[in-house]
Symmetry: C2
Subunit: 471 residues, 2 copies
């Protein structure tokens, strides 16, 4: 740990060089959703592999197979990059996950600068992938470069898993990890930098994610669409049934009306309860940023708990009904209502499916409609929660304190990052989410950026974390 100040100094001195490396990677248009950019995705995997190899890692490509497009066409999936730094059995081994692909971006979408040309304005580095997730990947590469230049031995072994299909459901990755399970069975801890601070000013470590269950409620009243003039008043209408069913799921203030859901939720521990008051989060700012007309709670703690540690139920829409602008007098023959539940420990998709199905069935029985009714559940995802007091989080926390001079907030997120659970389950190692970027980085949106300060301090946090982990 005596070397850390030298490391920090070198990061400061070489920061422009690392920004150039980020610029180089941003210029590769690795848009995984665009089949026409598949070549760029493969080039991006090659670029990252070459970076790691130059730094002395043993590298290999994991062939993830082919992608079947809806057109029937087959495209090769970009290979995952596997990199190994050190095989010292006396040291711990950290698995670092990151992704090299990006969301689509066009200047015309409303970017102020060319999305694939990293551009610094007022300390902000604008460019697609700058924060999601090329920035964090480059930050790791930078740390290794600095250690190499300074001749400092890595305090732990590192295994990199970098994929290039994350923005397209990480297609192929789970199978890739399973196929190479023997190569990652010695992992002690895992770290993922693919999320963001809760706000703009205070770093955080993320220890929980919600899972998801998605439902389709299909109701049919006739063989084909009817006309509200000719038939209105003669047929119990499917959309009327559906609106009623969907209105019985959650109250205006977000209380889920499905019996048994609340009982599945893990009770609040004192440790967790103690976290909320300290968290740097402003309810008014959240309200302003979402542009919402009202909030379910004005209490910071309740609002965060509703988003992170309690289930929520959202209605998404209706397929099969009239959805265009204007007026159409159709009686839709078949409608499919869509809603989802964000699930939390100790809920499972299986237990949730059972409660949801049973409740919907009871509503349908109560409705006494002659129409046909079918419930389908989509692919469910488990929630994830880690022990924020484990050695991984403690190391992360000390690293942040060293760089920022403050204890990070321990946060959760309301959405899912499925790879988190995949890595935890396959490596049987504790995972930590260590975000580098700020809440206003606009990942997935126009004018994505990472602050120069976040990028540089992020490198320092990652470097310090390596050393803290070895303690």
């Amino acid at each position: 740990m005596e070397n850390i100040d030298a490391v920090f100094k070198s990061i400061d001195e070489h920061q422009d060089e690392f920004i150039d490396l980020l610029r180089e990677s941003v210029a590769i248009r690795s848009v995984s959703a665009d089949p026409a950019r598949r070549g760029d995705c493969i080039r991006m995997s090659e670029w990252a592999r070459d970076q790691l190899r130059t730094l002395g890692a043993e590298t290999s490509f994991w062939d993830l197979g082919k992608q079947q497009l809806q057109s029937g066409e087959e495209l090769p999936l970009p290979p995952a990059v596997f990199g190994v730094y050190g095989r010292d059995k006396s040291k711990k081994t950290l698995l670092i996950y990151g992704h090299l692909d990006v969301q689509p971006a066009e200047k015309e979408d409303g970017w102020n600068t060319d999305p694939f040309e990293l551009t610094e304005i007022d300390g902000k580095l604008f460019g697609r992938g700058s924060t999601d997730d090329k920035g964090p990947v480059i930050a790791w590469i930078a740390v290794l470069k600095v250690l190499k230049n300074l001749g400092i031995e890595l305090p732990i072994n590192i295994k990199f898993v970098l994929e290039c299909m994350e923005e397209s459901s990480s297609e192929g990755l789970e199978k890739g990890l399973e196929d190479n399970i023997d190569k990652i069975s010695d992992v002690t801890y895992s770290c993922i930098s693919d999320n963001y601070w809760l706000g703009r000013n205070k770093p955080c470590l993320t220890y929980g994610l919600r899972g998801i269950c998605y439902y389709f409620v299909e109701i049919s009243c006739a063989r084909q669409d009817l006309h509200s003039g000719i038939n209105g008043g003669s047929v119990p209408e499917a959309l009327n049934d559906l609106m009623w069913i969907m209105s019985q799921l959650v109250t205006v203030d977000g209380q889920i009306l499905i019996p048994g859901i609340a009982e599945l939720v893990a009770p609040l521990t004192k440790d967790e309860d103690d976290l909320y008051d300290k968290i740097d989060f402003c309810v008014d700012t959240f309200k302003q940023e979402t542009g919402s007309h009202g909030l379910i709670s004005d209490s910071k703690k309740n609002l965060l708990m509703n988003r992170w540690r309690y289930p929520s139920l959202s209605l998404h829409g209706v397929e099969g009904a009239f959805s265009q602008p204007g007026a159409k007098t159709v009686i839709p023959a078949k409608v499919i209502g869509k809603f989802s539940l964000r699930i939390v420990p100790h809920m499972t998709p299986e237990a949730t499916d059972k409660l949801v199905t049973s409740y919907l069935d009871s509503l349908w029985a109560k409705r006494k409609s002659p129409n046909t009714f079918k419930i389908t559940s989509g692919h469910g995802g488990m929630p994830w929660v880690a022990d924020f007091r484990d050695a991984n989080f403690s190391a992360g926390s000390r690293a942040i304190e060293r760089v920022y001079g403050m204890t990070p907030d321990f946060t959760r997120e309301g959405g899912s990052i499925p790879v988190t659970l995949t890595i935890q389950d396959l490596t049987k190692s504790p995972v930590m989410l260590l975000p580098i970027g700020a809440s206003d980085d606009m990942a997935h949106s126009q004018n994505e950026k990472i602050n120069r300060e976040n990028f540089v301090k992020g490198m320092k946090v990652l470097a310090a974390y390596l050393f803290e982990l070895a303690v």
Copy 2:
């Protein structure tokens, strides 16, 4: 009336000639919705004008102005054809309305024959416009041809108003009628043949149509769409409010929940009540044809009354929510629910708007949601009902008895034919709907047809009607 048998005989003898005339008109692709077919629509108006002129009518074109396309482009509206047969002040004057334009049709849509080439198969004349509405227009022309050939003087004066934009909301027609109000101020009765029998076997005369009120309920919860992972549980969701509001409008069995609506409905008279039992309508066939899983009533009388003489409320869909196949985890920021009420005497759009708005406002107050809420009503249409015992209907009824040997059913329809009210209001004359085609003619659909028998007997009914009207 002593001549009617000779007229019938001549119609029988010349039927193939009239079918050829129909063939000629079907071949003109007068699709009013297709800007590229505007020339054909104008040609169709010219064709009809020339037919009437050849038969000795005074004809003129009513310039209906221009159509403003969404692209900003302006297209000339096809002119309405005005034809005058006889100006004998001692005779009554009948206004005959028909339309010359048709719905779009492509062989590839599922037609068994070329839609613009009239094709007879098993006594059915297939072709776009064969029944809607070129067939009835040609039937009138055929009647005049026969009378002319036989040298029989018209028992009444006739004024034709034929438009070529009916399938595109009769754009321009109302203004055209208003501009030429002095030319139609002497009309005694009006007759429209632009609907169909209730079934396949028994003729009917139609004395009522429902009107319509269309509503848009807009609810907004945020400035932009939110993510159900990040934000689920924090914001009262607009779609949840909307589903609840829309679930409170009508029961599963079609009872409208808006207070005051039922009180507006004209009471059932004994005369009307007596009509229903005789009507040739089979509930089971209706159920089979709609492919509906259930009906609001299994009683013929209740079902017909629900469709014709009572208001109905139908939900059409939601704009702004997720409506595509698949799963998307959006919380829509702004949703617009759409529903309509079919209105009946003595409801007016104004009175209905007031009750709907007041009920929706009270629901919204009860909901206690912080979201924004806005109700907009679309263009309303009045219901229409005629006295089915007036001289016009009596003449129509006697004409049908003479041709078919049976008293027609007196029916209503659940939809709207707005030109009916326009003509009634502007001519201040009683209007009758006299359908020629059968319920299975597939107007607006693939494989539209008119039965040869309906076409030929229709001509006879129209001829007899002229003479009965003069009595």
